[in-house]
Point group: C2
Chain length 357, copies 2
């Protein structure tokens, strides 16, 4: 992704490894300050995942792969059995950082499989370093291809609504929902994006707005309450969002508020696209109703976090003692989804599930 | 309305006058601190309206009536012509505080009509003081009657969603959307309220939550994004909101986000009620499309205001230089509205407009 640093555009990934040091764009400081967080060893990398310096399923998958490569390189001796135990401990440490993150465990598992192919500790260190780099490259490439798949759906002059951050910052690069937008913008199409602020965590106003600023794509932030207003006015040509999971019948599990936007899009005859890599499709689950929805801390609703006087502050926006409910995700039934855009093409929800079989 | 002060419940109105001093619940300090703002003269009362110590159409209408009574009492001499000029100046000062507030000008106008009936300055002072008190009493009574009209629609055990603050704080007392809820609660019905936080100004999490806390009505604050989630889950029995204006065809102009909730209610088979005094129905406007929607400052979206360390602070929740759009209201077509609840009864949108003719 493009990042403007001291007036010059530079190309960044969300996470990368150089000389055994894992580098991450520090998302805790965004959109206020662009800094790169450096983790010298796998424990620090695990801590960075836990503290949400890096977030978003594909991004923490790649970070976890890099952390496993770091752990391998940190091992001092040559005894393969001790090495294996060391690596199992590293994997456990990583898995405990974000227990519900499927990509994180998946990446650590594939590194373990890679490791077991090696003939020696020395060889394993080399192979894991290469495998982690390949994991990140493949992940980025899948997102780039989502952009290619979705390009035809975004016409010159399109006015697009997006919800939450399904951008490069949640992936290794390119993003999911933002990938077709980037692709179209790079090819000179003129675009305008309505960015839902996405309460309670404001990933829209904080992260998506930051990414679009960097890419010089025209946008406005709107209150989540205003999305329907602009749709009804005829100011939105299409909606595009990411997905945390897609079930066998094409239901989409994504950030809270996605369902509201999907219903409003349908009501106003606006296409509603979901951009997600094939790995998001979970054919073991028959419908979205089988997915348990994480209920997060009510404090995210009762407080707001933002910048004042150069520091990030927490302010209370409700009465003392108020209670809140805070479901993190919702389920959008397949009938509201026009197409699911994957790295292999854009399909109707039912076709998408068949296509991955 | 009930307010808990030092552990005891006391009965308050949003605004009242005693010994020529206008008292207002200071809404700039809510929900953090309950204080009563005192205005000794009509200029200070006008300033309190301008600074939004008091807000909400019926509440500022009554405040404006009280300010006119204050202005009358402040006049020193006995010359009726000078008195009239003094009163015209007071009316102008009031009208300039919130230029788009219809109730404010309406109240000042009725005070002027009252004044012209008086035979002397002395008599006018007496009459205006009585007329302002009557204006506030009538306004409160209309809201109380909305509660009576809507009572039958709220069953024991009802789970209610509301948006913004259509409570006692926006009126002289009782509220509009909150009036039937108060009435049902007072009669011992067990209720549960989902309070939309109502970004960008958070009147839900700040004011409605505060009122429900005082009334000991069970509630949770939710992100506006979560309303659809709870509706789809079957956790919401009815939605009730206020209105800024109702047009001749039954379209409802109200706080941004109302349209989204109405569409979601219809999609999920949930009744959607609008509570508003008859004076809100503007039969001169054929449909909602004729209403110009106020676009407010984007800063309301790009910043949040809340309490930290005992002070109210402003924090930035978007990148520096980000732009926002901030429509303050939206239009809900009549077909999404189940009933309009007025002080004279609950009607279908079309019937409501006929009923006022």
């Amino acid at each position: 992704m493009k990042v403007e640093v001291n007036g010059r555009f530079e190309d960044y990934r969300t996470v990368w490894m150089k000389d055994s040091i894992v580098h991450m764009i520090d998302q805790l400081q965004l959109p206020y300050k662009f800094t790169v967080h450096r983790s010298e060893d796998h424990r620090k990398t695990a801590a960075a995942i836990k503290n949400m310096v890096v977030r978003g399923a594909p991004a923490i998958g790649a970070t976890s792969a890099y952390a496993m490569a770091q752990a391998a390189c940190e091992f001092p001796g040559g005894d393969f059995l001790s090495f294996l135990r060391h690596m199992e401990a590293a994997k456990k440490l990583l898995e405990e950082t974000r227990p519900t993150a499927h990509d994180l465990a998946y990446a650590a598992d594939s590194m373990m499989r890679e490791l077991k192919k090696a003939a020696s500790v020395k060889e394993a260190k080399k192979q894991l370093t290469a495998a982690a780099a390949k994991y990140a490259d493949d992940s980025a490439e899948r997102c780039r291809m989502i952009g290619v798949s979705g390009a035809g759906l975004i016409k010159d002059g399109a006015r697009i609504l997006t919800h939450c951050n399904a951008g490069a910052l949640g992936c290794v690069d390119y993003g999911t929902a933002l990938s077709p937008i980037r692709y179209a913008n790079d090819r000179g199409k003129k675009l305008f994006v309505y960015v839902d602020e996405t309460r309670p965590r404001c990933q829209g106003s904080k992260l998506t707005a930051w990414e679009l600023t960097q890419e010089r794509i025209d946008y406005v932030v709107i209150a989540d309450n205003a999305a329907g207003y602009f749709m009804k006015k005829g100011d939105v040509d299409l909606v595009i969002v990411g997905a945390d999971r897609v079930t066998a019948n094409g239901d989409v599990v994504n950030k809270i508020g996605t369902y509201e936007k999907a219903v409003l899009a349908k009501e106003n005859g606006i296409p509603f696209y979901v951009a997600a890599p094939k790995s998001t499709i979970d054919a073991r689950l028959r419908t979205g109703d089988a997915v348990e929805i994480e209920e997060r801390s009510g404090d995210e609703v009762l407080y707001a976090w933002g910048e004042a006087d150069g520091a990030i502050r927490k302010v209370r926006i409700a009465p003392e003692g108020a209670k809140a409910r805070n479901p993190g995700f919702d389920i959008t039934p397949a009938r509201y989804v026009t197409k699911i855009i994957t790295e292999e093409g854009a399909y109707s929800p039912r076709e998408a599930v068949k296509a991955i079989r």
